[in-house]
């Protein structure tokens, strides 16, 4: 399973392409690609958003559903989704209802 992530141009904030066709600041509602066709569709969306100067560093990343919650496979992506592991008061985990990476 894959989802589409990037950083927002204006402030660099990590964002995920989510249901409702928006780049959300949290990973929870990211749109899941279940097969090749989904992946290609997401890839095209990412490319268009990059060319439209909305986001940069666009990437499809591997995730799993753990108890129905999206969890990236790589630690790097878990940290992007939560914030620095040494400072829980920083990044998305500092906002309500975002868990810590490690």
């Amino acid at each position: 399973m894959k989802i589409l992530t990037a950083n927002r141009l204006t402030d660099g904030e990590a964002v995920w392409f989510s249901t409702g066709q928006v780049w959300a600041e949290t990973i929870d509602n990211a749109e899941l690609a279940h097969d090749k066709a989904d992946e290609e569709r997401l890839e095209a969306i990412g490319k268009a958003a990059f060319l439209n100067n909305e986001v940069l560093d666009v990437e499809l990343i591997d995730v799993q559903l753990v108890d129905g919650v999206i969890r990236p496979n790589r630690l790097r992506e878990q940290i992007r989704a939560s914030g620095p592991t040494n400072r829980n008061d920083l990044g998305k985990q500092a906002r309500p209802a975002v868990p810590q990476a490690a």
Binding site: L9, T10, D11, G12, F50, D57, R87
Partner: protein
Amino acid sequence: MYRYDEFDQDFVNARVAEFSDQVDRRLAGEITEEQFRPLRLMNGVYLQLHAYMLRIAVPYGTLHPRQLRMLAHIARKYDKGYGHFTTRQNIQFNWPALSDVPAILADLASVEMHAIQTSGNCIRNVTADHFAGAAADEVADPRPYAEILRQWSSVHPEFSYLPRKFKIAVTGAERDRAAIKTHDIGLHLKKNAAGELGFAVYVGGGQGRTPMIAKKIRDFLPENELLSYCTAILRVYNLYGRRDNKYKARIKILVHETGADEFARQVEAEWEALKDTELKLPEADIRAIEAYFAPPKLVARPEGDETVRLARLDSRSFGEWLDQNVVTHRHPDYAAVTISLKGIGEAPGDASDSQMEAVADLAEKYGFDEIRVTHEQNLVLPHVARADLRAVYDALVEIDLATANAGLITDIIACPGLDYCALANARSIPVAQEISRRFASLERQREIGELKLKISGCINACGHHHVGHIGILGVEKKGAELYQVTLGGSGDENTSVGEIIGRGFGPEEITDAIETVVETYLRIRTDHSEKFLDAYRRVGAAPFKEALYGSEAKAA
């Protein structure tokens, strides 16, 4: 300290205006990321995992309180209330919005600072001994030469597109506190038999994927030929340095592949045509730059000895801090103070906005308006009267910056690693924090003695792990973090590259492994006076391997 002249200020202001316009156009979608990326990098703006990062140059690590205060202001207003001091004596902010960067750069320009050439294949911030101008053992202050190099290398048209980045360090003492042999060019300022100033010139040092120790290519270069000779080195490099392979593009590879003797010959040949030209520094110009670095007027404060004696009797922790973080000054009534940014369990090199402001206050009140950033990620007040040490200590206690661990095992260098850095393979900061907590007891740390532990989150080696007495390198193996341990590295006048001791350790094992290494050292050292590095150099890796891997090591 050096003050911008009108050319410097006009140039920096013009660059702020230019980059502001570029940011506006980028945000308006008028220029693409491909077009913008090199422009933002030239102005110190990177993209990391969570946000942009702005790297600001602190030339040769010297800061005026008004500059440190501005950094505190930026941390508070545009970032998240802290900054990270790096191994290049720079500071990084981890959370700025691109749209705020022009305002930040304008604020920086108002205190004669910028972020130019903190990225890209150009000559980067020139670093120097953090005790420059204060150290009892230096022949002269190396910073005037670092400043001359800074002026010469700033937007130097011929050297703005080198095969790869280029780093220069200068020291003025036999004891090398600037790690000059791990730099592309390392300059050791010294005097010849006739008492004239000049440099021993080292070339081709570096860390990263292929660590190399710089080779001496000239034993004495007269000070006035500094720029002609560096130009000759850069020209040879620009001509022959490999542009076909990023991993082979640093000058260290060229020096290695060419051979130091042949490389030196090529430089000398190039220099023949350059010396005695307009690149020769006029005596008056050198002395004019030197005047900016004139030492503060240090009045006699002979009461210091008695004040310190009484304060020691009064407070044991003051005494410990004095023994560990305070070093001799060339003036007997003064001392240089290391402000450790390595509080137990803290992220190495981080300082909060209010801590920065408090340090700026101290520098104004007791430190002749000078602060230094060290490549070991600490701050230094280079000139403090011994009579004022107790007051400085008490003020540092107030802001949690009085940790008495300079040079000890918890004085860890760690790069940002996977908690921030887009290039990282593994985390560095949490490893540093856990080791720091494990060795929190000062008594134990002092029993262990001098031990430099350095951690990098990937092979780029920003955390200088290759030259740590104990080095830790984070790698990614099968999607998990793994930490490789190297022993025996050193970044001083006897530079050596650490040797990988064996298979790596997982995040849950690494602190135990480090403790095993330390316990092994304590067991094998001849006595308390034999430091970790000396013991390792005497016995080699075998007992450490045995302790870490047991029978596994024998079988291998």
